[in-house]
């Protein structure tokens, strides 16, 4: 198949993931979006060099393999952090209003936000 198809699909998945990451408030949704973006990235890394060279190139595959290992451990760590955040604050969402370091601190944290 034409490699351009893979590139376009990767770009589309990347865009969907970026949208989800920026818009969603629940950490679980953000993590799913981030993993979508990572999948798109790995797809792109495998396809783009091959489309230039012709024969399979070992370097991008080594990069993607390392990338997958890092992505899996980061996701696992983020999930554990999310569970701890949920236990402490009663919900697992992140929202600018809930940032305790903004100037009007504490006021915002009292306002409970429902999970989205």
């Amino acid at each position: 198949m034409n490699p351009a198809v893979y590139v376009l699909v990767a770009a589309a998945i990347f865009g969907i993931g970026l949208h989800g990451l920026l818009v969603a408030r629940h950490v679980m949704r953000k993590l799913l979006a981030l993993n979508l973006m990572l999948s798109a990235l790995f797809l792109l890394l495998i396809v783009v060099p091959a489309s230039i060279d012709g024969r399979p190139d070992p370097v991008p595959q080594a990069l993607v393999l390392t990338g997958i290992v890092i992505a899996v451990s980061t996701t696992a760590f983020a999930l554990a952090l999310m569970v701890r955040l949920f236990r402490r604050q009663g919900h697992a969402s992140i929202h600018p209003d809930l940032d305790p370091t903004l100037i009007g601190q504490r006021r915002a944290t009292k306002r409970k936000e429902g999970d989205r």
Binding site: L63, F77, L81, L85, Q89, I94, D99, P100, T101
Partner: protein, 477 residues
């Protein structure tokens, strides 16, 4: 011991100690981590002698050539940051030793993570190709986020989550750029051939990714929360070294990839740095917590370091690199002092600062001395930085940059003097209360030592500047 084995030790000694402390029973971990922490400066001394002699040390692992193999390279710029790391690590040791004694909450997790962070930082400064830099930056981010969560508060967990999500997004952008560079050039080496639209796109993607990690305006949103809710020793290391590792990567990648339209992009990034300088200083001035003042000041100072991109000559490179030293030491001193103030007063709200000069004179002195470096008054390390940057702008007739650099000292003075005035000259002086136990003297003195060091490096900067001057062609071309 040869310089290359010292180079390997720099990464593998903390890595091995991390594994050992990870499997050891929690009550032994602190003692087991100590030898690795003390070995660092010795290895660095040996490497410094070699760098002074030959300029740079390179290493290729197992005869596997890049891009499939792994290559390391250390030059004067990396060496400066390694020294900041070693000095701050040593000075933060009493604070960490006291706070994470066996049996205290978080002490079991702290020591392996602390060593992992150290190993990651050293690796990032040695990596000679784009992908190993990515691996090292991920190791740093994961260890740093985990260290922030040791303080088990909602603020710390929320800030850590923000830092993690943005950090992963940043590294994603960075790897996308790296992938494009490889597709275009077939190489991952740091001084890669540039030019072409794909390379320009790759450069912008890599810059965005690294700017998130370095917390450069407008991608700084995670920094104030993360730095202000971390334990003292962790905040010291984060502010002194972690952001700067990404900043150094920005410098290196920028000058290694000459792309079309680079002049406009450099002007844009310089203006971004200028906005960061003033916006960061304004926010620092408005904060009501001491740690947040210090955190916002970092965002302001990083704007100054970004001016290297438009100025781009040897004097600017010397000044900005020397600034890593002065600013790193001063910022770590401030965070260690702030942690002591929190330990004694129970809060870092600036309402508690009046009368601090009598209750905690060492901490008050630390705030003052480190503040001198932040403002850039002579004879501090900060002054040397500003002087070299001003010289560089003068040589190039850059009136705009000249004005901005001169003004940056003024706005830093605003937030530093606000804190000092509250500490020393406020009429309300509260009575001495002894409700909270005072941290040991060594913890206070180590912060003071860092503040003094940040001042003293400015007294005799010539050897370091000379070393950096010789390394300049290798970095800024």
């Amino acid at each position: 011991m040869s310089p290359t084995s010292a180079l390997i030790g720099l990464v593998f000694v903390p890595l091995a100690a991390m594994l050992i402390t990870f499997v050891a029973p929690p009550r032994w971990r602190r003692a087991l981590a100590l030898p690795a922490m003390l070995a660092w400066p010795l290895l660095l001394l040996m490497l410094s002698a070699e760098i002074a002699r030959s300029g740079a040390i390179g290493l290729v692992f197992g005869g596997w050539m890049p891009p499939l193999g792994i290559a390391w390279r250390l030059d004067a710029l990396g060496l400066i940051l390694l020294w900041v790391h070693a000095l701050v690590g040593l000075a933060a040791l009493p604070s960490a030793w006291h706070r994470f004694a066996p049996g205290t909450p978080g002490s079991g997790a702290f020591w392996p993570l602390w060593l992992a962070l150290g190993s990651g930082i050293n690796l990032a400064l040695l990596a000679a190709d784009l992908f190993n830099l990515y691996v090292a930056l991920e190791l740093i981010t994961l260890a740093a986020v985990a260290l922030i969560t040791i303080e088990d508060s909602i603020a710390a967990l929320g800030s850590a989550m923000r830092y993690l999500l943005l950090g992963v997004l940043g590294s994603l952008m960075y790897v996308l750029g790296v992938g494009l560079v490889y597709a275009e050039t077939g190489s991952l080496a740091l001084p890669g051939p540039g030019a072409g639209a794909v390379n320009a796109t790759a450069l912008v993607l890599m810059l965005i990714g690294l700017m998130v990690k370095a917390a450069i305006f407008p991608l700084h949103v995670w920094l104030p929360g993360a730095y202000s809710s971390a334990p003292g020793a962790v905040a010291a290391l984060l502010s002194a070294v972690v952001g700067k590792v990404a900043l150094v990567a920005i410098w290196r990648i920028w000058f290694a990839h000459p792309v079309p339209g680079a002049e406009t992009l450099a002007l844009l990034l310089g203006l971004l740095g200028a906005v960061a300088m003033f916006y960061g200083a304004l926010m620092a001035y408005l904060q009501t917590r001491l740690k947040l003042v210090i955190a916002w000041s970092s965002i302001s100072q990083f704007g100054l370091f970004l001016l290297l991109l438009p100025l781009a000559n040897t004097a600017a490179f010397q000044g900005a690199s020397f600034g890593l030293l002065g600013h790193g030491l001063a910022k770590a001193a401030l965070f260690l002092a702030a942690a002591n103030i929190v330990a004694v007063l129970g809060s870092d709200s600036i309402r508690h600062l009046p009368g601090l000069d009598r209750r905690m004179p060492i901490e008050a002195l630390t705030l003052a001395l480190a503040g001198v470096t932040l403002i850039g008054l002579p004879p501090s390390g900060g002054f040397t930085t500003k002087w070299m940057l001003l010289q560089s702008a003068w040589q190039q007739q850059g009136v705009l940059w000249l004005l901005l650099i001169a003004l940056s000292g003024l706005v830093s003075a605003a937030y530093v003097f606000r804190i000092l005035a509250l500490t020393c000259f406020h009429p309300v002086c509260r009575a001495v209360d002894r409700t909270h136990p005072r941290p040991p003297l060594s913890v206070s003195l180590s912060a003071l030592f860092l503040a003094l060091a940040s001042l003293l490096v400015g007294l005799y900067p010539q050897p370091v500047l000379e070393l950096l001057g010789r390394a300049a062609p290798g970095v800024i071309g």
